[in-house]
Symmetry: C2
Subunit: 237 residues, 2 copies
């Protein structure tokens, strides 16, 4: 980021932007997205309100920036371990799911920011879709080795028609698993990813928003069981 070629002014600018985002992130943690307020950020960072507009064009611009960062961090959690995953697809799936859960548990407010209820009136910038896909990318490769059992075959069928019609889906498949849209493994790869996503999201979001409180359950146990069952239904080795 602060490369050697950057001027002192640019470096100062980056630092201030960082401070602003850090405070915004704390407000996010304390009261959710609605609690992120420019006026209060300004006070805390020691600037007047209008000065923030040197750094972010608007409140939405600041939120977008937080969202982008959150996606990138989430992607780092899964992509970061993608290089040295266990050889066994089943073990790899568990490792990925655990990494996903761990990140969400460490950064619950950031998880809710990108995966929680949509912010009313807020329009996500178009590049978030690609970022969202990156988070799940490594799952695609794992499920490319799957042989779907009867229960999940209807999902696979839907996925196959989707990947044939949607270029973004095909790109995704190619980038993370090196498969073409017509590859026989394509359907399983995407169907498994989709099912993983929705199951992880269910458990993680209930955990993160405290709904398991008082139930004496650890999200990790649930996730492990779910991934195990899912691995069975795709006959992962």
């Amino acid at each position: 980021m602060a490369d050697a070629t950057s001027s002192p002014r640019a470096r100062y600018r980056e630092r201030t932007r960082g401070e602003i985002k850090a405070i915004a992130l704390r407000q996010l943690a304390e009261g959710g997205a609605p609690a992120v307020a420019l006026t209060r950020i300004a006070k805390e960072v020691g600037l007047s309100g209008p000065a923030l507009y040197r750094y972010f064009a608007s409140r939405d611009d600041l939120l977008n920036s937080l969202i982008r960062d959150a996606y990138d961090e989430a992607a780092r959690a899964t992509e970061g371990i993608a290089a040295d995953l266990p050889a066994s697809p089943r073990a790899a799936l568990h490792a990925l799911a655990d990494a996903y859960l761990d990140w969400a548990a460490e950064e619950p407010h950031r998880y809710l920011l990108i995966q929680g209820s949509p912010l009313p009136g807020y329009q996500a910038p178009p590049d978030t879709l690609a970022r969202a896909r990156a988070v799940l990318g490594p799952f695609v490769k794992v499920f490319a080795t799957g042989r779907p059992t009867a229960s999940v075959r209807p999902v696979v069928a839907e996925t196959e028609t989707w990947v044939r019609d949607d270029e973004a889906a095909a790109d995704w498949l190619r980038e993370y698993a090196g498969l073409t849209a017509t590859d026989p493994r394509a359907g399983a790869a995407l169907a498994g990813t989709l099912l993983s996503w929705s199951q992880l999201h269910g458990t993680v979001s209930l955990e993160v928003s405290g709904q398991y409180a008082g139930m004496g359950h650890r999200a990790r146990t649930l996730v492990t069981a779910q991934m195990d069952v899912l691995a069975d239904s795709f006959a992962l080795e």
Copy 2:
């Protein structure tokens, strides 16, 4: 509600309360919980702002009322079909899951109100926990017939210690499945319910918040597959 014994005044009061809630519900649908504003409700219902305080003690009181209603309606969706479920536990599970999904799809904003990200700074009234349990009650009975396979056994183990320590859990079990906390079927009953809940929540909340958009997937297909897989892992008949 408007029973014969109620005075005209009481009936008028109930009607106005209903109008207020209906408008609040529309605001909720249009902009989420933050968009529910007493001032705007008053204008729409044709009253001055302060007049609303005759009907609800505060904004939070109004929100609580909406939340209670939403839980009750959700419970009606699952409990309503509990009486004539198919004899086969597997078929019963599918029927319950479909009913859950259908209700959420019909009332997305109400679903998000009770199951979405927690409202920052909002304290749920204590009776919501009991209402939340009612929604999932019928699942408990279905899974009481389950014989957990290896994958889900760790979840069952956690559930068994929970039900022994927590009176509310024991009550739940007794009320919906007629089991005592020490019954050998208790663990499976609650573990299956918990897993159903988190899986349904994952798929339903992604669907309801539009995150499957452009993916050519029907939530129903995903839910069916997930419940099938879950039924397998509890060896439901």
